[in-house]
């Protein structure tokens, strides 16, 4: 009972935030809506006996990724979104597609022939207790470092590579960019340094 109500409230908030992300004109606003969404999802994780994941969600997604987004938005000055579009039929078609997607999903879930029937999650014990420690950091760590250690290491390498890639991609490659020392040497030679003293 409690869970259902909480779920509905949180669900509405999450969907609302997603819609806000879709429709906002300002990129900063969109980013903030996404943060709200992430937070809701983190709360869902809590309710689903995944506390470790909830914390990781907040830390990584809301804390790191969104911050990165915001940095880039502000760096590029991209908060304003251009208005006119050259592809006028894109948006209606997208809506149609999304509707179709939703219908299909509903079909998958609810049609009598092919709808999947999912069991309800079983309660763990008394309300509020988790004697097994399902979803606890310890349990997740056990699984991660024993059963799935190879993917774990690979993901680590992946992160390393992404880091290197990010650095390389944003590297400046204009070789003759003026450094201050060169600029000063040029001024000394040409004797124009006297004019700069007036600034």
């Amino acid at each position: 009972m409690v869970g259902t109500i909480v779920f509905i409230i949180l669900g509405l908030i999450a969907v609302g935030a997603a819609v806000g992300l879709l429709t906002s004109t300002n990129a900063i606003h969109a980013a903030l809506f996404l943060v709200i969404n992430f937070t809701c999802v983190a709360l869902f994780y809590l309710g689903l006996n995944a506390p470790f994941l909830a914390m990781v969600q907040v830390t990584v997604y809301a804390g790191a990724i969104m911050v990165l987004f915001l940095f880039v938005i502000m760096l590029l000055g991209a908060e304003r979104v251009p208005l006119s579009s050259r592809l006028r039929w894109q948006v209606p078609l997208a809506i149609v597609l999304v509707a179709a997607l939703m219908v299909t999903s509903a079909f998958v879930l609810f049609s009598p022939q092919i709808g999947v029937s999912l069991p309800d999650p079983a309660p763990l014990g008394e309300v509020g207790t988790n004697p097994q420690g399902f979803g606890s950091p310890g349990a997740v760590a056990d699984s991660l470092f024993i059963s799935y250690v190879l993917p774990f290491q690979m993901v680590g390498i992946l992160l390393l590579v992404a880091m290197i890639g990010a650095v390389v991609l944003t590297k400046d490659d204009k070789p003759h960019r003026e450094t201050p020392r060169r600029k000063w040497e040029e001024l000394l030679e040409t004797g124009k340094y006297i004019e700069t003293l007036d600034e």
């Binding site: 869970g3 259902t4 909480v6 779920f7 509905i8 669900g11 999450a14 969907v15 997603a18 819609v19 992300l21 879709l22 990129a27 969109a30 996404l34 969404n37 999802v41 869902f44 994780y45 809590l46 309710g47 689903l48 006996n49 995944a50 994941l53 990781v56 969600q57 990584v60 997604y61 990724i65 990165l68 987004f69 880039v72 938005i73 590029l76 991209a78 579009s85 997208a94 999304v98 997607l101 939703m102 879930l109 999912l118 309800d120 999650p121 079983a122 309300v127 509020g128 988790n130 399902f134 979803g135 059963s147 799935y148 993901v155 992946l158 992160l159 992404a162 880091m163 990010a166 991609l169």
Partner: protein, 107 residues
């Protein structure tokens, strides 16, 4: 203490929610023209998928779902880093992040 918090709804509701969020993410990818916003929609989609994973993990009492979510998050983070780096370098050339400006590879 956090282990003890739990509010459970029928699993199918979680899946429905995940589907809705996913659909909204798809809409975002298709509709928005700002590259960064498209990226954010992609994150939304990933999140929706993560939610479904966790719900299933709880339903079938399998920690594999949660581990998978962990990996997805990691990959998402790496992807965001590289993607944004790309956007930055594109911006340096084109001075715009409207993806409609990037149509040179047309036939």
């Amino acid at each position: 203490m956090l282990n003890e918090i739990a509010f459970l709804a029928p699993t199918s509701w979680y899946i429905i929610l995940s589907a809705i969020l996913f659909a909204l993410g798809v809409a975002g990818v298709l509709i928005r023209r700002n590259a960064i916003l498209i990226f954010m929609s992609v994150e939304l989609m990933l999140n929706a998928a993560n939610l479904a994973f966790v719900a299933f993990a709880r339903t079938f009492m399998d920690l594999g779902g949660q581990v998978f979510v962990f990996f997805v998050m990691t990959v998402a983070a790496a992807e965001v880093a590289v993607g944004l780096a790309l956007i930055v370098s594109i911006f340096r050339t084109k001075q715009s992040i409207d993806i409609d400006d990037l149509h040179q590879m047309q036939g």
